[in-house]
């Protein structure tokens, strides 16, 4: 056997990897460094975001409300009212031109801010109660009193309080951050001027009270009986939770309230400009066969395009003002350059790479302003921007260094528009910036050939250097160049954890199975955290959630649900007393029946939400940039796009639920050592006083995530059953209801607000995240991947598999990194859908020291010695931390 050299190892496909387009830019040279001043500027930008404070801007809310009030009773359609309101915003908002900008355009009048989508009302309750201390005190008192009454009724205040104390002592995060206002709180603070706050509280919010979409949605859900009575009681009683991003339908099912994630058709606006799009609209309007509604929709689209144009022209005007008053020649040059671009795009087709970037940024910002944090994601930027990059390169107008600097700025700016003023109650479970507006790279072209190009590499290097949290979703297939994956491994080894890797095989197939045409399936991009979609052709997708462990709890209690606040009778279906079942299969079947009922509830809620959006808040701003809407003359909320999705995320969690069922199978149905009632009694006591049962549960070997066939089979049966059920439904926009397995941060929140579970998980502790295992035994990362790969990924449109790796486990040198690439490819070949490695840094290791039970799976691997970090003595851990900081 020849000792291995770097060249001798072919990749898994057995082909020595080549790189598409073999010029120097595509090889794995060391990270491209922007010019010193650019690098400084980018680092400063990042620093300003990371250490700066966001300001709540009232301007958009004020202007929108102004217009909305004015158009009341004028007989305009909802879509015209929306288009008119946004036009009014674009016509009057102030623009910020920051000295660190080379890409112009912000969504508020300040450098770092957050507009308020007051008409949707997602955060209205937060703003009503958490801007002023006295409002917080009043709201909190009221909430405590009604919660107290609820608890007294349900199960006794004393035991609840003592349980919460126990949980806190065991390290559970506090349920809220006290009485700190949005401005005073430590995590994710928001400043607001006194004047703006007054206006919000005394004029704007009162107008939208019970008028906002979320307010009306709650009424409709209640009226339609889609929310369980128990949940209604609970929601009324526990009014301290002002968050409305998610509404609870039952203890095991939730609804998302945003209109949904979407990727606009950037390629077309780059190609045609706004003028070209407006021309398309005008041509459609000339058709005499249009219905009145279609005509109205198209007119709203025209007004919207005009609005975005106005946005960019006024931005250009602001730049011109500044340039005129600028004494410094160098700075004036910069301003003139930006002015030039903004005068041209997005009104007209882009001519250069810089204009292309500027164009998509303005469109995205203007549209995001219309529905903040819908998440408007960028899609396949290495494909969309490539023609402009290539022609600039050929003409000598740009070099890779300058292009990378622009991309770095773009990634940071994307990050700055993914923040939200979440309520204090959830503050400890949130953070400020979300990476969930990803850029998708590589993958397949529509014709099936590999899509990797020079820009792909540039984006990877840019992500690594600028360290924005913006996710980089890399599509991987057997033709993906080894070099690209090795570059990513290198970046990960050096500390960047924003890469997610997606299996083209499983995702393209999943798209096909949900009705996407072959070429559109190949063209998939990622939006939100991990959700696949056809960019530019798919209407917004709002993911709801089915909480798997709570669903099991309801099944075990024959339809009742137990929460920390007490027992909620009849929360689900009566599926039978598990102690009367003779076999485990009967329990599993009962669980699936319970699940099918929950899915029906969720679909009804989701369709109710989508219909309300179509009625009350159509989205002409999205429709103007969505393939199909102009042609059909139908708004995206009415199903005008070529495709449309609604989604259910099966979370919280696959691992805990599988393990619980596995344990019950072994201990109750096979060995007959305990009854389900005994298990429930132990759960209700958080295992205190039930040590024998707890020990028995812990000792059951072969739990999920270790590549054991029996538990893998249970996980597969659960997911097949539930995911399979979604194929039966259509959404309100006549598209499919698809399945996901992504928990975001909800596994911590839901875990905090849940009792113990039968797998041995204690009350108030997090569930496993997304597709991660909970009880990792000795099988290490290969066991995890084998188990995860056996889930039905071809029926899931997005999942997250978070693997924590110390840099040494990715590899200190090329040879070792090729093995990581081989690991990834083998996992994908086994059917795994996704992998997002978190590279452990010193901070993570410090956290692991504090809460080792959350880091049981963290492997630190060096040379011939590898171990779980949490098993090491303190001093050794300190040493590794120090070592890790220096990139060892």
């Amino acid at each position: 056997m020849v000792p291995e050299t770097a060249d001798a190892i072919p990749d898994a496909a057995g082909v020595l990897s080549g790189v598409v387009g073999s010029d120097a830019n595509t090889t794995r040279e060391s990270a491209c460094m922007p010019a010193p001043t650019d690098a400084e500027r980018i680092d400063r930008l990042r620093d300003r975001y990371q250490s700066g404070r966001a300001t709540l801007s009232v301007q958009r809310a004020r202007l929108y409300t102004e217009s909305w009030r004015k158009t009341e009773g004028e007989g305009l359609s909802a879509t015209m009212r929306v288009a008119t309101a946004m036009h009014h915003v674009y016509a009057h908002m102030d623009h910020c031109v920051d000295p660190d900008d080379r890409i112009a355009g912000h969504w508020t009048e300040g450098f770092f801010g957050m507009p308020i989508d007051i008409e949707r009302g997602v955060f209205n309750s937060v703003l009503r109660t958490e801007l002023r201390t006295r409002d917080m005190v009043a709201a909190r008192t009221k909430a405590l009193m009604s919660a107290g009454r609820y608890l007294a009724r349900k199960r006794g205040l004393k035991s609840f309080v003592s349980e919460q104390r126990q949980a806190r002592a065991a390290g559970a995060a506090p349920l809220d951050m006290g009485l700190k206002t949005l401005a005073a709180r430590r995590i994710n603070p928001f400043d607001i001027s006194g004047h703006d706050r007054r206006e919000l509280l005394t004029e704007l919010l009162p107008y939208w009270d019970s008028r906002s979409l979320v307010d009306r949605l709650q009424v409709e859900l209640e009226r339609a009986g889609i929310v369980t009575q128990g949940t209604l009681d609970f929601a009324m009683a526990v009014s301290g939770n002002t968050s409305r991003q998610v509404l609870m339908l039952s203890t095991a099912s939730t609804l998302s309230t945003i209109q949904g994630h979407v990727i606009l058709d950037y390629a077309t606006v780059l190609r045609l400009g706004l003028v070209g799009l407006r021309e398309q609209v005008r041509q459609r309007l000339a058709d005499p066969g249009l219905s009145a509604e279609q005509r109205d929709t198209l007119q709203a689209l025209d007004l919207s395009l005009d609005g975005v144009g106005l946005f960019s022209q006024r931005l250009a005007g602001r730049i011109r003002e500044q340039a005129g008053a600028e004494p410094d020649a160098a700075r004036r040059l910069v301003l003139d350059g930006m002015l030039d671009n903004c005068l041209h795009v997005p009104l007209h087709p882009a001519r250069t790479f810089a204009q292309a970037v500027q164009s998509i940024w303005i469109v995205k910002t203007a549209v995001e302003l219309a529905h903040p944090v819908n998440l408007h994601c960028f899609g396949r930027l290495d494909q969309d921007l490539y023609p402009y990059y290539k022609s600039d390169l050929d003409a000598g107008r740009i070099d890779p260094v300058a292009a990378q600097a622009l991309i770095e700025e773009l990634l940071l700016k994307i990050m700055s528009q993914n923040i939200r003023p979440e309520s204090n109650l959830l503050g400890n479970f949130y953070h400020r910036f979300f990476g969930s507006s990803p850029v998708t790279l590589a993958g397949l072209r529509r014709d099936g050939s590999d899509a990797t190009n020079e820009l792909t590499y540039l984006f990877v290097r840019a992500a690594h250097r600028c360290r924005a949290v913006t996710n980089i979703a890399v599509r991987v297939n057997e033709k993906t160049p080894e070099d690209l994956l090795l570059l990513i491994a290198e970046c990960m080894h050096d500390g960047t954890s924003s890469f997610s890797l997606f299996n083209d095989d499983t995702h393209v197939e999943a798209m096909r199975r949900r009705g996407f045409a072959e070429e559109d399936a190949r063209d998939y991009a990622i939006m939100g955290c991990v959700e696949a979609t056809c960019p530019g052709k798919t209407g917004s997708m709002s993911a709801n959630a089915l909480l798997l462990s709570r669903l099991l709890d309801i099944t075990l209690r024959n339809g009742d649900a137990r929460m920390p606040m007490g027992l909620m009778a009849g929360e689900g279906m009566a599926t039978g007393d598990p102690d009367r079942f003779e076999t485990f299969d009967q329990l599993l079947e009962a669980y699936l029946r319970q699940g099918r009922a929950a899915i029906e509830r969720i679909v009804n809620g989701s369709n109710t939400r989508d219909r309300l959006y179509a009625r009350m808040l159509p989205a002409p701003l999205i429709s103007a940039f969505m393939d199909g809407c102009i042609e059909n003359g139908i708004d995206v909320t009415g199903g005008g796009a070529r495709y449309d999705l609604a989604g259910i995320s099966f979370v919280n969690s696959i691992a805990n639920t599988t393990d619980a069922l596995f344990v019950i199978k072994k201990l109750v149905y096979e060995r007959r050592r305990f009854t389900v009632s005994q298990v429930l009694a132990a759960i209700d006591d958080n295992y205190v006083g039930h040590e024998e049962l707890y020990r028995a549960i812990k000792r059951v070997k072969g739990k999920w995530g270790n590549g054991c066939a029996e538990s893998d089979d249970i996980a597969k049966r659960i997911m097949d059953g539930l995911v399979g059920e979604t194929y039966r439904y259509r959404n309100a926009k006549d598209g499919p209801v698809v399945a996901y397995a992504i928990s975001m941060t909800t596994h911590t929140i839901d875990g905090r607000l849940s009792i113990a579970s039968a797998d041995g998980r204690k009350a108030a502790t997090p569930f496993a995240a997304s597709c991660n295992p909970y009880n990792v035994e000795e099988s290490g990362v290969t066991g995890v991947l084998r188990s995860v790969a056996s889930l039905p990924h071809r029926d899931i449109m997005g999942c997250a598999v978070n693997i924590r790796l110390h840099p040494s486990a990715i590899g200190h040198h090329d040879l070792a990194r090729r093995k990581w690439v081989a690991l990834l490819r083998t996992y994908f070949n086994l059917g795994g859908g996704q992998m997002q490695p978190t590279v452990v840094d010193a901070q993570t290791l410090l956290a692991a020291q504090q809460t080792p039970e959350l880091y049981k799976d963290l492997i630190v691997k060096v040379g011939g010695y590898s171990t779980y970090f949490v098993d090491l003595g303190r001093e050794i851990q300190d040493e590794i931390i120090a070592r890790t900081e220096h990139g060892a």
Binding site: P3, E4, K819, T826, I880
Partner: protein, 309 residues
């Protein structure tokens, strides 16, 4: 592929997946318990004793006391919520590990048949195939269980799995022919050229090791051998020591890569977990400058090196 009961049982203390520094590709490491040597820098003290043992990790103990009741020889006491383990009186029966839910007490070393070992190892066959990897048998010193070792290697070969053997080289010469038939790659430790220094540091001289090395190289050449040199400060990192090792390699005709393993002081907790508080030698890490110099020395003689760790 089924493997008949060979009547051969081995004591294994670890099976590690996704090993990337133990031979080509992704490998699973099978670690056999038992080693004749007692190298003073040993990172895996739990590998030294042949028979199964118990280890205790205080950080995982939640003070439930279930083990106290179970222990037949009274080697465990609970005092003020803190667990005290009297390892002198411990008989390594492992009952405490059986009741411990937190994995604070755990058994180290399990008796497994070849078939059982193969079942665990072959679960990752797809990862071997996708990376041209395989299985590395290590330890302890795997040749201390020669019957089990050979049966295991044959079973792996039968299933088309690439085999690597990580050995200190101290085994009877008559084992070599059978190893040659069953091992694709030898990972061979060369610690020190001087017999007496070697004895002082490990408990054994190096004559048999060097004999085996020369024999091996003569029979299969550098293609199937990779030399590994641990860099232990105060023992073998002086320029003279390294030159002597280089001389051993070059005179035997070795032309392959030399894998260097700089020392890291990470094993202290392992010793403590076995109750061997006095045995851990607190050495400083190998200074990077020394490692660089060693690399240069090898390079000067045309020998390429690779750093692990």
């Amino acid at each position: 592929m089924a493997h008949e009961a060979t009547g051969s049982v081995g004591v294994i203390f670890d099976i590690q997946r996704y090993c990337v520094y133990d031979g080509p590709g992704i490998r699973t490491g099978v670690f056999l318990k038992g080693c004749p040597m007692r190298c003073f820098w040993c990172h895996n003290p739990e590998s030294q004793q042949c028979r199964p043992q118990v280890r205790f990790l205080a950080t995982r103990c939640d003070g439930c006391g279930a083990c106290v009741e179970r222990c037949d020889v009274g080697a465990i006491r609970l005092r003020k919520g803190k667990l005290l383990w009297d390892f002198e009186h411990c008989n390594d029966c492992g009952e405490c590990a059986d009741v411990c839910t937190e994995n604070a007490f755990a058994r180290i070393g399990e008796e497994l048949s070849v078939a059982q070992t193969m079942e665990r190892v072959m679960a990752d066959r797809d990862f071997f195939a996708g990376s041209h990897g395989g299985v590395t048998v290590s330890g302890g010193e795997p040749t201390m269980q020669p019957e089990f070792l050979l049966h295991l290697l044959r079973a792996l070969r039968q299933d088309g799995i690439h085999t690597a053997l990580d050995t200190c080289g101290h085994f009877p010469g008559r084992l070599l022919p059978q190893l040659l038939e069953t091992v694709d790659l030898f990972l061979f430790d060369i610690k020190h050229a001087d017999d007496q220094e070697h004895q002082r540091a490990t408990g054994f001289g190096n004559r048999r090791i060097l004999e085996n090395f020369r024999d091996l190289l003569a029979k299969v050449g550098s293609a199937r051998v990779t030399v590994r040199v641990p860099l232990v400060p105060g023992f073998n990192t002086e320029p003279g020591d390294i030159e002597a090792v280089i001389e051993v390699l070059t005179s035997a005709g070795y032309e392959g890569e030399v894998h260097l393993m700089p020392y890291h002081g990470w094993a202290k907790s392992k010793y403590e977990s076995l109750g061997r508080f006095g045995d851990y030698r607190d050495l400083s890490d190998t200074p990077p400058a020394d490692t660089d110099r060693v690399i240069a020395q090898f390079a000067a003689h045309g020998l390429e090196t690779r750093l692990y760790g």
